[in-house]
Amino acid sequence: MLSLIIKDVLVQKKQLIFAIVYLAFVLVAFQGMGEAMFPMGLVAFTYLLSMTACAYEEKNKAELLLNSLPIKRVDIVTAKYLSMILYTILGMFAYKVMTTIINLVNIPLKTYPLSLEIIIGSLAVVCLMTGIWFPIYFKFGYMKMRIATFVLFFLFFFGSSLMTSFLKTRQDSQWVEGIINFFESQNDFIITLVLLSIIVLYMLLSFLLSMWFYNKREF
């Protein structure tokens, strides 16, 4: 399992450097976005690395190799999810190092500390996306997933702005108010816990779906 994750990193050494440079670019270029710049950068970072790893599997027809070795299919799926978590941690670490350097050297750039809120928020966005990509990837392979991703991106960005305006117009409706009231009346700890549970549950579901698809795959 470990060697599958390391393999994913090894095949994309160059992309890893590129992704870190990209993160630095986001830090400089999206100063206007405020706190939201980190989740955005992180999603792009994780997306880039996860997708490239999948692309290399397809390019090398490596599924034939992996499934001919004595490896359980569940391990192949698990490794992809774990590498995604690894990229997320790596992205956070890289961000932390960059902001520390910026502050130390007094570069005139605004930085935002990695608060729990930001970490959970970023994690939620990363999981929301990868949780859909992976089942599609394990069912159809990389090429078809790319098309799905394209659609997904649009739905995601349009959807979230639609959702925001929808919620704004319905602020008085009972269930929206109920949800808002619930969050307002709880302390941060509970909110974090609820959000984390939702993320974990969602990812678990995504994982089971991926597993189910991959077990049925033919190569």
Binding site: S68, P70, K72
Partner: protein, 288 residues
């Protein structure tokens, strides 16, 4: 002792092709050549053995164990070489070894290094920089470095120059000195098999046409030539297939002694090559 590989009634259906319930048995200590034209079902059969495809019916036993139920135990003892290298082109040979080795409980680093030296493989070169022959040799080195008892090769020689092909065949005959091992070797280059195979299995359009000891096959079958005048007198049933030409005909018979008895000195009988046997069999199939 149970056969290394036992396939019974294996079926796999596709829209435009199906494997029609094939049987294959391979004992330890032997090399079986699995021949047939492109699209005959060779790769499908191999993928079914490796559980890359799901069978529709029948069973596959490797080392006496069901290939799906005991998939991982079986794969520990299988070495595979496919027609294309499926290794990550971005990795170097040593990185790739590093990824693959931990999966095998009986990985033998000394054996691997020995093969790498023997094959003159540059360990620090990326796989995409290797020639086709070198890629095949790398696959072979991996296949031979974990004490595999069954080597499965899907067209390993296709696209290779005669020199590398000869080298591969020499290595295989060394491997088979160990009587505990067996090799299942698919190819459409039949001349490779004339040198090393003990058994030959011919598949065409998803059906096994014959599965025999190679020597028996080459000694019993005969390539018959006869004049035009004989064409009207011959019984087509005596031949696997007849090819007419300007001067007469050429045909393949299953039992050359029978043919000699029936036609005496009206015909000339020669020893066929595996290629002749494959061509006549598959053509009959087409003409039928």
């Amino acid at each position: 002792m149970e056969p290394v590989l036992e396939i019974k009634g294996l079926k796999k259906n596709y829209k435009d092709f199906s494997l029609k319930g094939i049987d294959i048995t391979l004992e330890r200590g032997y090399i079986m050549g699995f021949i047939g034209p492109n699209g005959a079902g060779k790769t499908t059969t191999i993928k079914l053995i490796m559980n890359l495809l799901k069978k529709d019916d029948g069973y596959i036993k490797v080392f006496g164990l069901d290939n799906v139920e005991h998939e991982l135990d079986i794969k520990q003892k299988i070495g595979f070489v496919y027609d294309e290298s499926n290794y990550y082109e971005e990795l170097t040979i040593s990185e790739m070894k590093w990824v693959v080795a931990p999966f095998y409980k009986t990985w033998d680093d000394n054996a691997f290094n020995k093969y790498i030296r023997e094959f003159n493989l540059p360990v620090n070169k990326k796989i995409k920089e290797l020639s086709k022959g070198m890629k095949m040799k790398f696959s072979l080195a991996v296949a031979l470095s974990h004490n595999a008892e069954l080597l499965i090769m899907d067209e390993p020689t296709s696209g290779l120059d005669p020199l590398v092909r000869r080298e591969l065949l020499e290595i295989l005959s060394q491997v088979i000195q160990d009587e505990n091992k067996a090799v299942f070797f698919s190819t459409h280059i039949t001349s490779d098999l004339e040198k090393i195979a003990d058994y030959v299995t011919l598949i065409n359009d998803g059906e096994i046409l014959l599965s025999l000891e190679k020597d028996e096959l080459l000694n019993n079958y005969g390539l018959v030539r006869g004049g035009k005048e004989l064409l009207n007198d011959v019984n087509p049933k005596d031949f696997i297939d007849i090819k007419e030409n300007q001067f007469g005909f050429e045909a393949l018979v299953k039992d050359k002694n029978e043919a000699r008895k029936s036609y005496r000195d009206k015909i000339i009988i020669e020893k066929p090559s595996l290629e002749d046997i494959m061509l006549y069999h598959t053509r009959r199939y087409k003409n039928a």
